[in-house]
Each structure stands twice: as structure tokens, then as C-alpha cells.
């Protein structure tokens, strides 16, 4: 049975590569990372030979990071490895023992387990003394790998129902995106401290990490090397007991998962009546017509639809990055800093580039009701204005408050509306001229259909360049004008100019898309079998 599972996993990986496109890309990216991590891990563990104290700290950090990675990756990428979901195998006549050994064996196949193994092999260089201690170090490394595998399976099984539910999937998309966003945020937020080679500051952290089972292997290695065989044996025994307990827990959750029905995802929520459908929650001022309905739906979607929620939250985090950037450059006392709030509008360009791609196959609803691109695009544009302008305004007010640049706030706001208008105008044309389907695949981190990521990137850069050229005259004029009142005048002229560009974009899009509704629908729908 173990052989069957191993072949299944190998076949799944191979077939994934054969489909090419995003899966292949994901695999290659994963491979590059795995090779890097294997090298870094191996080097960190091996470093203990030259410098036992710092090496022990590094080992503790690296082994803990391994466990964290083994737990978080499957949880965030659930669905990318089909053997992870035990309910797929629930109907096969397998005993629990067969299922568990099979799944564990499947876990050993792949890039990640090999990389982990290579990294742990560094312990042989870094820690192995002569004699019985060498056996203990090898045992600790082997048990640590086992801990990673078993813990990962156990957590995924325990969370399986939650991860498969719609809310779980939505949350995962958000977490994945935010994890990707984190480094950018940290780059601005972290204050540079001690020198990079100094591990002394991390000694406390390493000691705390050593209290948990994820750090016991590192402790056992250090003890073995130091010749403290008693503590080393105890730490290894503790690790073995932990693995045993995890196996027991995994067995129990597997049984429960495969024999109980899923909690009703469709259980109706208590009806919240008395709110007008679609226009509740602050959208009451929108007109009750087609553009108004589209705008209201888009605003709701910007929060309810996970991919757009990511865009919205990134948009909301952008001001903090701008603020951090301003503070770190010591620009707080410069009045012109208010204009930094315009950076927040930069996110609009990408959100507006492919309006209909985000609607996907549901676009038939618009087509069946009779195409009206002008109304639909206007509604979509209003929704972007409604979700962006408040963030720009708040950022502007904060920047004005800290820098005292109040007189320029009005100029900045007028410019912001203009900048959004220009980007919407360009976006309307690209949305109709170059619609791109956006696959709805939460298991795939690189969620563009095969071969189109590059086109989308090019399109996005070209649009940004065009928008830059269109905005440049106004930006230049405002930047070169000394008096605030004159700047306000120029900004208002710029707003009229931007309004004209927006209107032209809308008209161009309308003309390009007239009587092309079915083709637009076809272009944004996932490929259907004839």
C-alpha cells in the first residue's frame, strides 16, 4: 500500500508538471526556494562545528522554522497537493493504519521533504562527535524530520473541514496575499539594529524555542556534542513521545473526519431584514438604476470577493508604507509631503485594468439584460472612486496634520480625483479592448491562467506608462508653481482635463465594445468544453 501512495504522489507531481503553465511555474519557483533553503539550512547546522554557541542558536532557529514551514505551507496552499485531503480517500477500503502509513510515505515524496532532509544532514557536520553521540545526533535529525511530516499531516487533517469551507478558502487567499505583502511592509517598518553577524541578541529567543518540541532536536544535538548524553537521550525520548501523541491525535481526527458529515455550510443565517438589498450600509445615495446597481455591487464585491479584498486591504496598507517612508526620510517638516497621499491612488490603475475579467462568466447576466457598457463601466468607476478616495483623504489629512501642510491638502485632493479619473479612463479602454480571464483558483498562488501572466504584466506596465504621460503635464505645472492658490487653480484645470480624458476613455470603450458583448463574455469566461 505504501508503494501505491508513493507512486500516486509521484504521478500527481509529474502530471502537474505536464499541464505546464502556472503549475510548472509554481514548481520551478518552489524548487528554487527549496534548493536555497536546503543550502542555508545545511550551512547553518554545519556552522556549529566552527562556532558551537552561535551554531546552536542558528540550529534552534532553523529547526523551528522548518516546523513552522511544514505546518503553514500546506495550510496556506491546501489544494495544491491532492494527497493532503484525506476525505478524497475516505471511500477506499483502507484500514486506518494503511491510510496513515500511506499518507506519511506520500509526504516523503517531493521537493520539500528532500530539502528538509538535506538541511538536517548538516547536523552530521556541525554536531557529530565520535561514538554514541553521533548516533544520537542522527536520531535527533531523523525524528525532527518525522515531527515535521506528522505534525503537518495532523494539522491539515484537523483543519481540513475548515479549510474546505468557503470562509476557510476566502481567509486563505487573504493570508497568502498578506504574507506576500509582509516583507514590503517590514522593509519600511523595521528599525536597523545590531550588525547582521551578531547572533547574541537571538540567544534568548533560541532558549525559549528550546522549550517546545520543535526545538528539542536542536537541544539534543547540542547536548550530544557537548557530551551530555543523559539530557540528549531525554530530549530525543521527548521528541519520540510527541510524535507518538501526534500520531494518536491524527488517527482520531482521521476517523472523525471520514465518518461525520460536514457542518452545514449552507445553514441560513438569521435574516437581517429592514435593510434595503444592495443599497444598505452607506450606499443609499447611489441612484436606483443600472450604473447605481453596478456601483453598489462592486463596492460590496470589493470586500466580499477574496481577490478584491486583497486589493482593497493592500490599498489600505499603502498609506502606512507611504507614512513610514516619509518618516524614515525625515520629511515630516516639509509641507510638500502632503502630496505623498497621491501615491495611494497608484493602486487604482491595476484594479481598473480588467473590469470584466473579474466578473468572469457571471458577465452573461449583463449581456442577457441587454448590453450597456457605458452604464456598466460608469458604475464600476464610481465604485473604485468610492473605495479609494476615503483612503487618500485620510492619508492626506494625517500627512497635513504632521507636516502642517494644510493649505496644500485641497490641491492634493483635487489632484487625487484627477489622477484616479485618468487611470479609470485608460482602464475602461483596456477592459474592453484586452479582456483577460481571471481564474478563480484559491489553491493556486500564481492565479493567472497559463501564459497570460506575462501579457498581463506587459499590459499593466504599458497602461502605467500611458497614464504617466497623460498626468505628467499637470504634475509638472503644479510642481513648478510656487503659490498655493495658483497651484489650486492648476489642479482644478487638471481636474477638468482628467474628466475629459475619463469621458474619452468611456466613449472609446463604449464604441469598441458595442455589439461585441458575446465576444467579451467569451474572452473572460473560463475555457468551456464545446
Amino acid at each position: 500500500m505504501v508503494g501505491v501512495f508513493v507512486r500516486l504522489k509521484a504521478r500527481l507531481i509529474a502530471n502537474g508538471l505536464r499541464t505546464g503553465g502556472s503549475q510548472l511555474f509554481g514548481f520551478v519557483v518552489g524548487l528554487v526556494f527549496a534548493v536555497l533553503l536546503a543550502i542555508v539550512g545545511f550551512a547553518s547546522l554545519a556552522a556549529a562545528r566552527a562556532n558551537p554557541v552561535d551554531g546552536a542558536v542558528l540550529t534552534s532557529l532553523v529547526t523551528t522554522a522548518m516546523v513552522v514551514g511544514w505546518v503553514s505551507f500546506p495550510v496556506l496552499g491546501f489544494g495544491s497537493d491532492e494527497t493532503l485531503d484525506p476525505t478524497r480517500l475516505a471511500l477506499l477500503p483502507l484500514t486506518r493504519r494503511q491510510l496513515m502509513t500511506g499518507l506519511l510515505a506520500a509526504s516523503c515524496v517531493g521537493v520539500a521533504p528532500v530539502a528538509t532532509g538535506i538541511a538536517l544532514a548538516g547536523a552530521a557536520v556541525g554536531f557529530a562527535p565520535i561514538g554514541i553521540g553521533a548516533v544520537l545526533v542522527a536520531l535527533a535529525a531523523a525524528l525532527h524530520l518525522a515531527l515535521c511530516l506528522v505534525l503537518s499531516r495532523t494539522v491539515v487533517t484537523a483543519l481540513s473541514a475548515a479549510l474546505r469551507s468557503r470562509r476557510g478558502r476566502d481567509l486563505r487567499i487573504l493570508l497568502v496575499a498578506l504574507v506576500g505583502f509582509l516583507p514590503q511592509l517590514l522593509r519600511f517598518v523595521t528599525v536597523p539594529g545590531g550588525s547582521p553577524g551578531d547572533l547574541g541578541a537571538l540567544r534568548g529567543t533560541a532558549r525559549v524555542l528550546g522549550w517546545f518540541p520543535s526545538g528539542w532536536a536542536a537541544r539534543a544535538m547540542a547536548s550530544s556534542r557537548a557530551g551530555h548524553l543523559g539530557p540528549a537521550v531525554l530530549e530525543i525520548a521527548g521528541l519520540a513521545v510527541t510524535i507518538g501523541l501526534l500520531l494518536w491525535w491524527w488517527a482520531v481526527t482521521l476517523d472523525r473526519l471520514n465518518t461525520t458529515a460536514e457542518a452545514g455550510a449552507t445553514a441560513p443565517r438569521p435574516a437581517r431584514r429592514a435593510v434595503e438589498p444592495l443599497f444598505g450600509g452607506g450606499l443609499g445615495l447611489l441612484p436606483r438604476n443600472r450604473p447605481g446597481a453596478v456601483a453598489a455591487r462592486e463596492v460590496r464585491y470589493s470586500w466580499r470577493e477574496p481577490r478584491r479584498r486583497v486589493a482593497l486591504i493592500s490599498g489600505m496598507l499603502l498609506p502606512f508604507i507611504v507614512l513610514a517612508g516619509v518618516i524614515s526620510r525625515g520629511g515630516l517638516h516639509h509641507r510638500g509631503v502632503v502630496y505623498a497621499c497621491l501615491l495611494v491612488t497608484l493602486g487604482v490603475g491595476n484594479r481598473a485594468l480588467n473590469h470584466f475579467g473579474l466578473d468572469g462568466a457571471a458577465l452573461w447576466v449583463h449581456e442577457a439584460a441587454g448590453s450597456d457598457l457605458r452604464a456598466d463601466l460608469s458604475g464600476k468607476n464610481v465604485s473604485i472612486l468610492l473605495t479609494t478616495l476615503p483612503v487618500v483623504a485620510v492619508t492626506g489629512v494625517i500627512l497635513a496634520a504632521v507636516s502642517g501642510g494644510w493649505p496644500d491638502l485641497a490641491v492634493a485632493m483635487v489632484l487625487a480625483v484627477g489622477a484616479i479619473g485618468v487611470q479609470l479612463g485608460v482602464g475602461n479602454v483596456t477592459s474592453v479592448r484586452m479582456p483577460v480571464p481571471v481564474p478563480d483558483n484559491p489553491g493556486n498562488l500564481w492565479s493567472t491562467s497559463s501564459g497570460q501572466g506575462c501579457i498581463v504584466g506587459l499590459l499593466s506596465m504599458t497602461a502605467l506608462a500611458i497614464e504617466g504621460l497623460l498626468v505628467a503635464p499637470v504634475a509638472l505645472a503644479v510642481a513648478l508653481t510656487p503659490s498655493t492658490a495658483a497651484r489650486l487653480g492648476e489642479a482644478i484645470v487638471g481636474l477638468v482635463y482628467a474628466g475629459g480624458l475619463w469621458w474619452a476613455g468611456l466613449a472609446l470603450a463604449d464604441r469598441a465594445g458595442r455589439n461585441r458583448g458575446p465576444e467579451l463574455l467569451e474572452a473572460v469566461s473560463p475555457r468551456r468544453a464545446a
Partner: protein, 267 residues
């Protein structure tokens, strides 16, 4: 009653509710629909039957203006769907098979959205939505997002959205596919109420019992062609519709030969 391909209906009185003429659609090398011509009389409950992959869905998508045909035309009550799309689409309601909806809206929001897209006054939309939600048993789910609906609930909310603007012709693609009996009865109830006022329903299915129970006219499609078209009795020819269907599309009967082991399985 089938009409020669190429003749275009003209003159309003006596016009069919739906007229398809020489509809053709090719996907790459595969001919999905090869020149379908059909007339659907006013007030009829018209069944479009055929095996999987026969071209039913493609035909319905072309008839409702969602997929451009390679050649041929569609007229709804004399209005050309592909040349007067806005006026023609005002008269039709669509329930597609794949049920792609704006599913991050609640049921009530979805109906409001569909109504406003069609330019209906908000008060009418609100009144009709409440009535439809009540009749289809969706009042408790009105504030739940459609993405969390069961399959039957999705069919029901999609049907409500399709009839909201009281269209003259309703196109339903597999409306009873994978539906529980309670939801099916609710859908049938709405459809019967709808046709009693003289409206026309065109629906595709491969469940012959349903078609026999509901339809007065039937067209059998096979490999992109109409192989039979007429009243239910004409098409049946004294047999059950299922027998007539199988003989028309040439299905293989499972005979006594082969699979002997299946009969002797002892568990």
C-alpha cells in the same frame, strides 16, 4: 411544423414566439450545431431534448444572444436577437445550465441587481422579489450570500432572477438537473403559473419523464441537428418518449451478451 432553413419570418400576427433559422456554430474542428431551424409557437411549453453533447446548450446560448452563431438567425416574436438585441432581450428570460451568478450577493441583492440591470423601477423590483422569494421558499436565505446556497437553492434564485421582469419567453437550460423533489415542485409551480398567462417556455433536458409531463411540443437534437420536431404525440409515435428518443439517436441496447459476471455478483 418544421420550417425550411433560410426563410425568415415576417409580419407580426401569427409569428412564432421563437424562430431559429439555420443556426450553425463550430468550435475549432468540432461542429457543435449544424444548421438548426425551429419554430416555437406562442404559449407552448417546448422541450429541447438530446443526449449529452448534442448541442442543446450551444443552441440555447445562441438563441438568447449570449453566443454569436457562425451563421443563421434568431427571432423572438419577430425581433431579430442579433440585430435588435436590446428590444429582443427585453422579452426573454434566461436560466443557464452552469449557473454562473454574481454569487457574492445575497439572494435579495441578486434579484435587485438583475431587476435594475433590466431598467425596472426599484419599487416593482422590491415587490416582485419578495413575492418570488416567498413562493420559492427562499425567505430565510434572502440575506445569505448565493455562494453559500445549495444547488437547488441556486437553481431557484436563478429562476427568480430569470422571471423577475415577466419576460414573454423563458429559456431554461436543464432546470431540473440535480434538483431535489421539493425544489423541483417549487420550480414547476412557478413555471405553470407563468405559462398559464400565455407565456412561452423553451427548456432543455435529458430527463424524458419530465419532458413528457410538462411539454406539449418537443424537438429532438442529435449531433447538432434536429432529428424530430412536433407535438409530443407526433414525436412519440405511440411509444414512450424514451423509446422514441433512443431509436432516434441510435443508443445501444444492453443485451444479454457480456457483463455476465455482474449478474452473478454475490456481494
Amino acid at each position: 411544423m418544421s420550417v425550411e432553413s433560410g426563410t425568415v419570418p415576417s409580419g407580426r400576427p401569427g409569428l412564432p414566439a421563437v424562430a431559429l433559422r439555420g443556426l450553425t456554430k463550430r468550435f475549432g474542428a468540432k461542429l457543435a450545431v449544424g444548421g438548426i431551424s425551429l419554430d416555437v409557437p406562442h404559449g407552448s411549453f417546448f422541450g429541447l431534448v438530446g443526449p449529452n453533447g448534442a448541442g442543446k446548450t450551444t443552441t440555447l446560448r445562441m438563441a438568447t444572444g449570449l453566443l454569436r452563431p457562425d451563421s443563421g438567425g434568431v427571432w423572438i416574436d419577430g425581433l431579430d436577437v442579433w440585430h435588435e438585441p436590446v428590444a429582443a432581450k427585453r422579452m426573454i428570460g434566461v436560466l443557464p445550465e452552469d449557473l454562473h451568478l454574481f454569487e457574492r450577493l445575497t439572494g435579495a441583492e441578486l434579484l435587485t441587481y438583475h431587476g435594475l440591470l433590466r431598467g425596472m423601477p426599484i419599487a416593482v423590483v422590491r415587490a416582485r422579489s419578495e413575492e418570488l422569494l416567498a413562493v420559492l421558499g427562499l425567505v430565510d436565505a434572502a440575506a445569505t450570500m448565493v455562494v453559500d446556497y445549495s444547488h437547488g437553492m441556486r437553481k431557484k434564485i436563478a429562476l427568480a432572477a430569470a422571471v423577475l421582469h415577466a419576460p414573454r419567453v423563458l429559456f431554461l437550460d436543464e432546470p431540473f438537473e440535480a434538483i431535489d423533489p421539493v425544489s423541483a415542485r417549487a420550480i414547476k409551480g412557478v413555471l405553470e403559473r407563468y405559462t398559464s398567462g400565455g407565456a412561452t417556455v423553451v427548456f432543455s433536458s435529458h430527463v424524458m419523464e419530465l419532458v413528457e409531463g410538462l411539454c406539449d411540443r418537443v424537438a429532438v437534437i442529435h449531433a447538432g441537428q434536429v432529428v424530430a420536431d412536433g407535438s409530443l404525440d407526433e414525436v412519440r409515435g405511440g411509444r414512450s418518449l424514451e423509446d422514441a428518443f433512443v431509436s432516434l439517436v441510435g443508443g445501444a441496447e444492453v443485451g444479454a451478451e457480456g457483463l455476465g459476471w455482474l449478474a452473478s455478483s454475490s456481494g
